[in-house]
Amino acid sequence: MAVTKEFLKSEREQSWRVDIRKLLKNKERTALTRVHMGEVAPAVRVKSNIEVNSGLTQDEAVNESRRCLDCPDPTCITGCPVEINIPKFIKRIEQGDFLKAAQVLKETSALPAVCGRVCPQEKQCEAKCFYQLKMKKEPVAIGHLERFAADYERESGQISVPGIADSNGIKVAVIGSGPAGLTFAGDMAKLGYDVTVFEALHEIGGVLKYGIPEFRLPNNIVDVEINNLREMGVKFENNFIVGRTASFADLKEEGFEAFFTGSGAGLPRFMNIPGENYIGVLSSNEYLTRVNLMDAANPTTDTPVVSGKNVAVIGGGNTAMDSVRTAKRLGADRAMIIYRRSMEEMPARVEEVKHAQEEGIEFLNLCNPVEYFADETGRVNKVRVQKMELGAPDDSGRRRPVPMEGSEYDIEVDTVVVSVGVSPNPLIPSALPQLKTTRWGTIVVDEEKLQTSMPEMFAGGDIVRGGATVILAMGDGRNAAAAMHTYLQEKLNS
C-alpha cells in the first residue's frame, strides 16, 4: 500500500490546503515553539491510575498544527510504518475541521487514539520531521496532534463508521483480538467479509488491555474502538482458544475460508538465575495481567496482587517502565529499575522514561541481577546485583555491558518483576505442527503478503515479528487483509 509521490502531490494541491498554507508565512510558522502537552503532576498521578497525559486543548492543537510547513516532500510520512498522510490531517486541524482530521487518520490507522498514545514517535515520524532533520529544532508534535484528533472524534460522539461493501458471505476467522487482529478485522469487514474474532481471554483487546496500563492507555478508549468494529458487523467470541476449544478442521467445517493469526508474543521469559522461583518474583506479564486485566489492586476484586514496598523491575523496555510505574502506584516506597546498560540505551519510549523519572522511579543502570534470596517462608527479600561497565559496541550499535567481577552487592526487595522480554505465544504453532516457524517461535510469512506456509493462513503482529510495536502490528493487519482479499477472490473465482 505504498503512498505514491503523485498521490501526495495531488492531495497537497487541493484548494483547501493551498488556502491553509497561505494563512501564514513559513518564517512565521517556524518562529512558533512546540506545544507542551499538559500532564498530571507526578505527586498526584502516582496515587491513582489517572491518565498521565492530559491531551491538547483546541487552541493548543491549532497552534501546533500551524508549525507544520506542509512540505512538498513530506519526510515525516517516511517515518510512519503505515504511511499516514500526516500533513493532510495536520492541516485539517489548522483548518478547524477536527472530525475530518480524524477521518484522514482512519484512512490508514485503525486505532488512532491508541497510536497517538503509544507510538514511539521520537523514533518514527517526528524523527523525520523537517524541523528535526534540517533545522535541528523540536519537531512538530505529530503524536499529540494524532491523539487530539482521535480523542475529539470519540468525545464528540460523531465517530465515523467507514462505509462497508455489500456482504459477500465469506467467513474469515481472526485469532487474537490485539492490534493486529482488530485492524485486520476492521479492514475485512469494510470489504464485506463475515468476520469473527476469537480471543482466548475473557476481555477483548489483547495487549492493549492486559499489557498497557490505564495511566497510559485507558481501557475505555480501547472499548470504544472495539464497539466501532461491532457496529461494522465484526463478531467477537471470547474464552475461545482456536486449536483447542475448536480445531482448525472444525472451523473449516463451520465454513471459515481463511484465518489471520495475531496471537501475539505473550510467553514470559525469565533469566534463569538462582532464586527466580521464590514467591514474589513474577514475570511482567503476570504482574501487569493481574493489575490491568484482573484489576487486582482494587480491593473489591477477587484476584490478588502482592506488590511490596521495595520493588525491583529488571529490564529497560516499555514493559519494564509500565511495571515499575504500576508498582509505584501500588504503594512502593522504592520502585527501582535494574538495567544492565545505560539510560540512553534503554529500549523504552523516551516519554515513558521521562514520566518515570518524574514519578520518583529509581534507575539503577549498569546493574544486573545475579541471584535472589528469600526469607524462611520462601518469599524474596534480597537481590544480588553486579555492576557492569560498557565495552565495545555490539551489533545493535550499543556498547555491550561487561560484568565487573567482584562488584556484587545486595538490595533489599520484597517484589521483583522480571521484564526481560517475551516470546511468541506457542498455542497456535503447537496446534498446527505443519506451520513453518523460526527458532524463536515466530511464524514465518511472506514479507509482502504475510501469508504463512499454510496458504489459507495469514499472520501479523508480534507472532511474526517477535515483540515489536502496536503500529507495526496494525500495519500487518492492514497488509494481510489486502493480501487475503486477493487470495480469497482468486480462490473463489477459480
Binding site: 521469559r269 523496555g317 529500549p347 555490539d394 560484568p403 517477535g466 515489536a468 510495536t469 507495526l472
Partner: protein, 330 residues
C-alpha cells in the same frame, strides 16, 4: 602387575590419561569411543561464554528491525541463547553419565564467574563429577595491574567452592608475572586441581597476501617443555592435584609429566591425529615402561624428578643458553 590408578581432582581414576576439553568430547558417540579405548576421565567440550555472546550478537545484528522497533524483544536475547546452550549441555552430561562409567567433568570458559553461578548448580544436579573453569583474560588492558587480574582467579575459586560439592579445577594459562607463586597459592586456595596449561589459538601472518591468519591448530610433540618445567617446579608444594596439558603425544611425555609430579595428563591433539586407539597404545607402553623400570604404581614414581626432590634444584631454573651449550671452548 602394574597398577595405573591415580587421582583427578581428588577423584580416583583408573589410569592417568584424561581426554581434555575439545571437539572429541562433544558427542555421546565420541565420548563412548574414548571411554572404550581406556580413557580414565572425560572433560566435556567447553561452554564458551564468548560463543554465546557472539551468537546472540549476530542474531541481533540480523534481526533488528527498522527504528529498532523490536529492540526490547532482543535486548536480553543472550540469556535465551545461554539457557538453550545450557539445557543442551545438561542433557549431554546426563546422557554421558548413563552411557559410560568414568568421571565426566564439565568445562566452562568465561571471563566473569557471577553470570555462571546458576549453571554450576545445574551441572552438579545433572550428575557431573567435577567442573573445570577456564577463566582467562589476556592482559590486553594495559591499565589493569597484575594483582587485580590475579585476584579475579582467587575470588572465583572461593565463590565456586562455596556453592558446589563436586570438585573444581582451574585451567591456567602461563601468563602470570610470578607464575610459580600463583600456581602455588591457587593450589592452596580450595581448588581441587590445576590444569597447566591452557593452549591458545595463535595468530600468524600470510606474508604473500598481507593477511592475519590462525596459527597452527594442534600442539606439536615438543610443545610440552614449558608445562614440564612448571609442574616440576611447583608439584612438591602444591596443595592439590596438578594436571599436565599441552604436547602430551606419547607415553614418554606421559611418564615425564608424572615424574615431574603431575597426577594425570590431558590429551587432545594427539587423539585428533591418531584416533582413540592412541590411548590404548599409550597405556600399554606405559605398563611396559613401568615393567622395564621395575615400578609398580603411579605413586611410586610420581614426582621422582621434581625440583623439590632434586639434588640440583637450580637446574630447573636455568633459562638462558650459556657457555655449556655454545660449543665454545675456552
Amino acid at each position: 602387575m602394574q597398577k595405573l590408578e591415580t587421582t583427578y581432582l581428588g577423584l580416583p581414576i583408573k589410569n592417568p590419561i584424561v581426554v581434555g576439553s575439545s571437539g572429541l568430547t562433544t558427542t555421546i558417540g565420541g565420548i563412548k569411543k574414548l571411554a572404550n579405548a581406556g580413557a580414565a576421565a572425560i572433560v566435556l567440550k567447553s561452554v564458551f561464554e564468548e560463543e554465546i555472546k557472539a551468537e546472540a550478537n549476530q542474531t541481533i545484528g540480523q534481526q533488528l528491525g527498522v527504528d529498532e522497533n523490536n529492540l526490547e524483544f532482543f535486548d536480553y536475547y543472550d540469556y535465551q541463547v545461554k539457557n538453550d546452550v545450557l539445557d543442551n549441555y545438561v542433557a549431554l552430561i546426563r546422557e554421558a553419565k548413563e552411557n559410560v562409567d568414568i568421571p565426566i567433568i564439565a568445562s566452562i570458559n568465561c571471563s566473569s564467574y557471577s553470570e555462571w553461578v546458576a549453571f554450576a548448580n545445574k551441572i552438579e544436579d545433572a550428575g557431573a563429577d567435577g567442573i573445570e573453569l577456564n577463566i582467562f583474560k589476556l592482559p590486553f588492558d594495559a591499565k589493569t595491574e597484575a594483582d587485580v587480574i590475579e585476584k579475579v582467579y582467587f575470588d572465583i575459586v572461593r565463590k565456586v567452592k562455596e556453592r558446589l560439592r563436586i570438585p573444581v579445577a582451574i585451567k591456567l594459562a602461563p601468563y602470570f608475572t610470578n607464575l610459580g607463586n600463583v600456581i602455588n597459592r591457587l593450589s592452596h586456595s580450595g581448588a581441587d586441581g590445576l590444569v597447566l596449561f591452557n593452549r591458545f589459538t595463535s595468530i600468524d601472518y600470510d606474508i604473500e597476501n598481507d593477511q592475519v591468519v590462525t596459527g597452527k591448530v594442534y600442539s606439536g610433540a615438543d610443545d610440552y617443555v614449558n608445562t614440564l618445567r612448571w609442574i616440576s617446579v611447583t608439584s612438591t608444594d602444591a596443595g592439590c592435584d596438578l594436571i599436565a596439558s599441552t604436547g602430551v603425544h606419547d607415553y614418554r611425555t606421559l611418564v615425564k609429566m608424572i615424574l615431574a609430579g603431575a597426577s594425570s595428563v590431558q590429551i587432545v591433539s594427539a587423539i585428533y591425529k591418531e584416533g582413540p586407539e592412541l590411548i590404548t597404545a599409550m597405556l600399554n607402553e606405559l605398563k611396559a615402561w613401568m615393567e622395564r623400570r621395575n615400578v609398580h604404581s603411579i605413586s611410586e614414581f610420581k614426582g621422582r624428578l621434581s625440583q623439590g626432590r632434586s639434588a640440583n634444584p637450580e637446574v630447573f631454573e636455568r633459562v638462558q643458553f650459556m657457555r655449556y651449550f655454545s660449543g665454545y671452548k675456552g
